[in-house]
Amino acid sequence: MDLRELLHLAWNSILANRMRSLLTMLGIIIGVAAVIVMVAVSAGTEATIEERITGLGSNLVFVTSGFSRGGPGRGVPNAGLKFDDAAAIADEVSGVVAVVVEQNAQETVEVGNVTVEQVEVLGTTPGFPSVREVKLASGRYFTDVEVERKTKLAVLGASLAQELFGPSDPIGQSVKVGNSDLTVIGVFAKRGMVSGVDFDARLYTPITVVFQKFTPREFARFLGNQVRVIYVKVADRATMDRTIEQIKLLLAKRHDVTLDAADFTVTTQDDIIQTQESATSAFRSLLAWVAGVSLIVGGIGIMNIMLVSVSERTREIGIRQSVGARPNDIRYQFLTEAILLSLFGGAIGVLAGAGGAVLFGAMSDMRTVVVPTSILLAFFSAAVVGVFFGYYPANRAAMLDPIEALRHE
């Protein structure tokens, strides 16, 4: 028998027991789908991390209030990281290229009859475009003097500018932010999402304006010029550890706390990447186990059904033997059937897995990327399962005694 005949035979046998074949394949389907979803999710997470690394800007140190929970923007602002701290870091710590401070507020922005609610108003300092690697599409950013004078200026994110002004040029126009009128002096080029924050939808203003205009008075009394995060750009990656050490000592002294009970946290990109990666790899190994276990369960299912099939078809095996089928002919017949079942289950699993990964990505905020090699991997493992778990039943069929087999009812 050649391959074509073997495939024909196996195909007919699978078709003859459709429901049973489908149930047999279920384990493989789930296993393969799990492999594909697993790889898609971890590839998506890796892509997100990669973007964050490039998106954060290079050689950055983040100083946040309280204890950091996995990155900038997620710190708990319960303690006193002050605006003056930034100036102190810039003045007293060696190896620092630039320092940027951020404090945000949410306000309603109005231009004429266009109103956008809940716009993130980000107060920063002039170093922001270079440290966070954002480019201006038109106009300019504000200066140190303007920060000091609390000049009411605004630089718009690309999509916010589009929303407020449409095609007309916003430069020189006035926008109403909360109860204050700010003059637009610049518009940023598109930057997209960075660490889950849409840079394009924000309004940027001198940080002093945020302190003065957009911080509720009752809070301002307690918090003063509190800032959420200070970004420190370091000249040389090699001396980063020394710089961090200096920042910690300086802030501890200024806040009058010990390093063990610090009310601030200093993190680097590397820390964030490591945290993310360890979470991803834990998730990945969990899913790898799920996939592995269900492939094995699926394989056992196939073995089980193949054993049933061999015993049901003992007579048929006897007939084939009597007309000249060699043990290998019988072995390949059942092995082909098992492999075909596995590959078929694998194919359905690939479709289910790829579809599931795309759907999962669309419905949750977790990003998924279907990796082509994972499809190959899944197919390959399905075939291996078919051979491995199909061999025993096939061998049993091949080794049947023709006389016994013919006598079997």
């Binding site: 007579r315 033997q321 007309v323 043990p327 013919l406």
Partner: protein, 244 residues
């Protein structure tokens, strides 16, 4: 078959089942010769060893001792692969219960031995043609695409005979070919076997029916694993007159 060499030559052929203390000798030193073109019946009560003999002669089993030459070739000690090849190439089986594949059509059933024939790789079209010719030879030209379940017992047995003949074997082994059939269908099958015999086929047939056995050339009576008697039957070939 113009050679003087017998198709079947067994000497001291024995088959012992079991090992150690508990053994059963199913066939005990049986020596027979069956010539090309002979039609031989094998009779005997159950347990006499006729199934064992047929299994050995059909290369489904190997003897414990003694030798079996199939047209001069010693097949007593061949391995499973070689025995399978001999079954496919040189022996055609006809079973009491037809033993057709239920999901395969008449044509597909008849093609089965060709599928496993490694000596000659034939194209599917050629196999199909050979199967059609074999079915035509047993009078089933119009039934090629029927499933066994769509045919009568007699027709099914004729499909089985076509399958036995499709490879042009040295030997046809029939194990109670009429055992499951009504008398009319049985008559037809016997008529077919006699026709094959007249065309030169060598046929060995197990039967319980003395009447049927009497129409063959020789009847080998087995008892307790030995040859009891070998009877040379008077009218080896039925004439047209006897049939009526």
């Amino acid at each position: 078959m113009n050679s003087a060499e017998p198709i079947i030559h067994t000497s001291e052929l024995s088959r012992v089942y079991g090992r150690g203390a508990v053994t059963v000798t199913a066939l005990d030193a049986v020596s027979i010769d069956i010539q090309a073109g002979e039609f031989v019946a094998v009779m005997g009560p159950s347990g006499s060893g006729k199934s064992t003999l047929m299994n050995l002669v059909g290369c489904l089993d190997r003897p414990t001792s003694g030798s079996y030459l199939l047209k001069g070739e010693d097949v007593s000690h061949l391995d499973r692969d070689a025995l399978a090849a001999i079954r496919g190439r040189s022996i055609g089986f006809v079973f009491q219960s037809y033993n057709l594949l239920a999901r395969a059509t008449a044509e597909e059933n008849v093609m089965l031995p060709l599928l496993y024939d490694r000596g000659q790789r034939r194209q599917p079209a050629q196999r199909r043609e050979m199967a059609r010719q074999a079915l035509e030879a047993v009078g089933l030209a119009g039934r090629t695409s029927h499933l066994p379940s769509e045919m009568s017992g007699g027709e099914q047995q004729r499909v089985a005979i076509a399958r036995a003949l499709v490879n042009d074997p040295l030997l046809v082994l029939a194990d109670e070919p009429t055992g499951n059939l009504d008398s009319h269908s049985g008559e037809e099958i016997m008529e077919l076997l006699h026709r094959l015999h007249r065309d030169g086929r060598t046929i060995v047939m197990v039967t319980h029916d003395r009447e049927i056995a009497a129409h063959t050339q020789r009847t080998i009576h087995l008892r307790d694993g030995h040859i009891d008697t070998i009877v040379r039957n008077g009218h080896a070939r039925r004439t047209e007159a006897q049939k009526v």
